[in-house]
């Protein structure tokens, strides 16, 4: 008789990369199946949000700043990279604080930070906005495409299509959030959650603890990444975040509209809101033809189910965002031959 598979989802793109790099799937007993989740911020950003940023980059005297992973993501008509080649001023920054320096150096221009990311990143941007106010900057704006991970995780936990047995939970999101937001996923949706780090040993130990929970019919949140994660998380970071942002409903590629899964600037900080500052007309969003990123992000299909994978779509010529971002599932599978 065929063994029942244990299906575990690694939520975080950094885990997807680490698992592929270390070849962990080949090391695991055959009854354990790992599937990749939605934890690549660039990948889950909706086509309309990408298009909006690209349209803003067309405006004269605007400088766009963003993280490197964003550059090659295809919008409906074009990408940042192509826009830059055509003369748009688009700059990759390591930290959102770098965008403040650029604003100060270019007082005649309007500088927009195109922000994507989860709870790891959004507090750093909140702190940057507070700093911008302190410095009295009037030419700095943030395009807030930040996502809150937990509502999406709940959607996946409750999905009848997916049916995962447990979640390998993101270590660095949890450094900020702590364990409290996982409680509902473990208790209400009955899915064991183990927060783990990014070394091979961390991931394997996390998987072991998930399997132990599943075998003993327990559903709780455990921390395997004790050296960095505490139950309370980084309270100061969350306070900074909550002082600048409110939650809003947000559209995820593949997962659709999810309630309270995005962040918008509070009224008090709306002078920094790029969406309010720049009214642009968006093209009708068209997804890359043949790309199944949406299903890959939900874990219901793998990159190898995509006809374009490795043939038409490669990291050099990516068709969809999951092949662009270094943490995208398609890119990780391609690079490490999964």
């Amino acid at each position: 008789m065929k063994e029942d598979k244990i299906k575990l989802m690694e939520v975080c793109g950094t885990h997807t990369m680490a698992i592929a790099r270390a070849g962990i799937k080949k090391l695991l007993p055959s009854e354990i199946e790992l599937i990749s989740g939605p934890g690549c911020p660039v990948c889950v950003t909706s086509q309309a949000d990408i298009d909006r940023a690209i349209e803003i980059s067309r405006i004269d005297n605007v400088i766009i700043t963003t993280f490197g992973d964003m550059m090659r993501v295809p919008g409906t008509k074009t990408s940042f990279e192509d826009m830059k080649r055509d003369g748009a001023d688009i700059r990759v920054v390591y930290s959102p604080l770098d965008a403040l320096t650029i604003s100060e150096d270019n007082p005649q221009k309007r500088v927009v930070f195109m922000g994507v990311g989860f709870e790891t990143t959004s507090p750093t941007v909140a702190a940057t906005i507070i700093e911008a106010r302190k410095r009295g900057l009037r030419n700095f704006f943030v395009l807030s495409n930040f996502k809150v991970l937990f509502p999406a995780l709940e959607a996946l936990a409750g999905s009848s299509k997916l049916k995962v047995d447990g979640f390998i939970c993101p270590g660095h999101v949890s450094v900020v959030t702590g364990t409290i937001p996982y409680a509902k996923i473990a208790s209400h949706y009955k899915k064991p959650c183990v927060i783990t780090g990014f070394d091979e040993i961390d991931i394997v130990k996390g998987i072991k603890r998930l399997v132990e929970q599943i075998k003993s019919h327990r559903c709780t949140t455990e921390i395997e990444y004790r050296r960095a994660v505490t139950e309370d998380g980084n309270i100061e970071a969350r306070r900074v975040l909550d002082s600048v942002f409110d939650v809003k409903d947000s559209h995820w590629r593949g997962l659709g509209m999810i309630k309270e899964s995005g962040l918008k600037l509070k009224n008090k900080y709306r002078q920094f809101d790029a969406e309010k500052e720049f009214k642009v007309k968006l093209p009708k969003a068209i997804l890359p033809k043949g790309c199944i990123c949406g299903e890959v992000l939900q874990g219901i299909k793998g990159p190898r189910d995509c006809k374009l994978f490795g043939k038409v779509c490669t990291p050099r010529k990516p068709v969809g965002p999951c092949m662009v971002s270094s943490e995208g599932t398609c890119a990780a599978y391609y690079r490490y031959g999964e």
């Binding site: 695991l28 911020p41 959102p96 702190a127 091979e200 040993i201 075998k215 960095a228 980084n234």
Partner: protein, 77 residues
């Protein structure tokens, strides 16, 4: 994207710190983690310290993999 790298805090000045990534020094912000002392290890993401981190002990993946197989076996017995 959620990559964060551990570094050792060398010096602190107001809400900035100089940290050491194994020989490479960088100035980072303490804007979302202010309770940091010299010689602490912190995780750095996008130019900010996001949390403290303890030094890890060396462990053996193969040993844990064997234990994992034992968990699965126990069940079948």
């Amino acid at each position: 994207m959620c990559l964060a790298v551990p570094a050792k805090v060398k010096s602190i000045e107001k809400n900035m710190a100089v940290v050491d990534f194994g020989g490479v020094y960088k100035r980072i912000s303490l804007g979302i983690l202010s309770d940091v002392k010299q010689n602490d290890y912190v995780l750095v993401h996008a130019g900010f310290a996001i949390g403290k981190v303890k030094q890890k002990e060396a462990e053996d993946t193969l040993k844990v993999l064997k234990e994992l197989k034992d968990v699965l076996k126990d069940e079948r017995r």
